[in-house]
């Protein structure tokens, strides 16, 4: 762990005194290794290191904590400061329907998360409805229908319609007729550099005026997380992130990167393939996980 590595760096520093610049620089090399190893974006890591250096140099070595523990505490606090508040909330429309639009790169867990969100809002006394907005991926509609069946939630699908905006609008109407008040729209995976598909997402957003446009990211995403988050938030009104597959052993540094560069909050995390596998995002837990 970082604490153990820093213990080695500060072994010579016993008892009283202050943390000297050369000690801190050595410690920072370990911090850098830890952050980059956790996939925090290297530019974000650099800014973080500078802030940690400012806070650590000249700090009085306390009786209660070892120098290593003190530096770890500073790093942990800085990570929490970036991650901000815990997530777990969803913004609902003042009058139905509430539309939640899910977007993201290919394979990030959008279709699976539709089922998870249905379970989540139903627990809050809402009536969910799913819309099959991925008309490209083979059997994507079928996949969402099976997901819907699994969580006893109706799905609007149209196998003949090639205009995704029309499908979404028909879906909202169908939801209202079925007395449902939360419409969760599944979309095709798309690259942030695919002009046509980003254009489609923009048109969908404009037509639906969602209460939430959530960007799904794989928690194992590397340095590229910054590019993806920046592009999606510049073209769409992204209201928050969902980080998926956190039941793996990735440290999840992408969380720091996306939050640092966009300021948008992380709302939920995916922790299994099952419909119950959606948890509230907790900054403190994430910070500890990233530190390793």
């Amino acid at each position: 762990s970082l604490a153990e590595k820093l213990q080695g760096v500060f072994e010579r520093l016993r008892g009283k005194g202050t943390l000297r610049e050369q000690d801190v620089n050595q410690a920072l090399r370990e911090v850098r290794l830890a952050l980059l190893g956790a996939d925090v974006n290297f530019r974000v890591a650099k800014d973080l290191e500078n802030r940690i250096r400012e806070r650590a140099v000249g700090v009085e070595v306390l009786e209660s904590l070892t120098p290593a523990q003190q530096v770890v505490k500073i790093v942990h606090e800085e990570l929490c400061a970036i991650l901000g508040d815990d997530g777990g909330y969803l913004r609902f429309a003042s009058k139905p329907p509430t539309v939640i639009l899910l977007v993201g790169l290919q394979g990030t867990g959008k279709t699976t998360t539709c089922g998870k969100l249905a379970v989540h809002v139903r627990r809050q006394g809402r009536r969910p409805f799913l819309v099959a907005g991925d008309i490209y991926r083979p059997a994507a509609i079928r996949q969402l229908q099976v997901v819907g069946e699994g969580v006893k939630t109706p799905v609007h699908a149209d196998l003949e319609q090639r205009d995704v905006v029309r499908i979404a609008q028909d879906g909202v109407r169908a939801a209202l007729s079925a007395q449902c008040d939360v419409v969760i729209v599944d979309t095709a995976g798309r690259l942030h550099v695919d002009e046509d598909m980003m254009g489609e997402a923009e048109r969908l957003e404009k037509a639906l005026q969602p209460s939430e446009t959530l960007l799904l990211l794989d928690s194992m995403t590397g340095q590229d997380a910054v590019n993806v988050a920046t592009q999606f938030t510049s073209r769409l009104n992204i209201t928050g992130f969902i980080l998926t597959k956190l039941d793996g052993d990735t440290r999840g540094g992408a969380a720091i990167s996306i939050r640092a560069v966009t300021g948008k909050p992380i709302r939920f995390v995916g922790v299994s393939e099952k419909p119950e596998g959606l948890e509230v995002f907790q900054s403190e837990r994430m910070a500890s996980r990233i530190l390793g």
Binding site: L36, A139, V146, H192, D218, T221, Q223, A254
Partner: protein
Amino acid sequence: FQRRTKIDDALFEELEESLIEADVGYETALSLVTRLREAVRKERLATGEEAQNWLKADIERNLSAGSGVIQWAPNPPTLIMVVGVNGTGKTTSIAKLTHYFQSRGNRVILAAADTFRAGAIEQLQVWADRLKTDMIRHREGADPAAVVFDAVTAARARGADLVIADTAGRLHTKTNLMDELRKVNRVSERALGRSADEVLLVLDATIGQNAVQQARAFTDTLPITGIILTKLDGTARGGVVLSIRNELGIPIKFMGTGEKPTDIQAFNAKEFADAIFG
């Protein structure tokens, strides 16, 4: 990137950052730049461009082994198993490999051995229909090992050259799922009378350092013979394969560059190295 930049610490730092940004990883990037410093001295490299070209050549040398090569069985059918964590592009890569080998005159049979995920069998069936290839499927929830076994038997009976088996995505940290994969591999060995000819690990280029853990865990579970690196049509570079190649020796065989059946090619180490600094 300036062509005639002199070689100094700022240049080394810039090159190191390009490597890190490409997900090469901090330690691998440092060791690469350390070897570059050595080469600059020994080979009297003079410009930034020469330094960058040295790195590109080194990376290319490191990654070109096994590119596009499939270990064909002495007697048909050859079995290729496709494995990896969730959402990396296994099923789509199988469609691409099918198209790739069919266009080279091979008869392919698919094994729909992802019997778990919603719509998984239907997804592969759509590809099988589009590519006019036979597919062996059981019902959802059936034993994946049985599907592979039946596919190998069917391939033998129908004179097919190649069986490609799809498997469910699984996080490498889930021991029960990795045990299941080990079992599928054992059963396939029984069907073939030898081990699977190829077990290809599909890695998503957007994934960071966790890909190394994935490669390690899958290699501990069954013999991984090659990697398919997908989603290189995005902005991620997949540099983590450098560490995987150095540590585990697994060759990078194919690369995925899109969602169509033609979006696959033998791994191009030169293009890969160029893209890191491009």
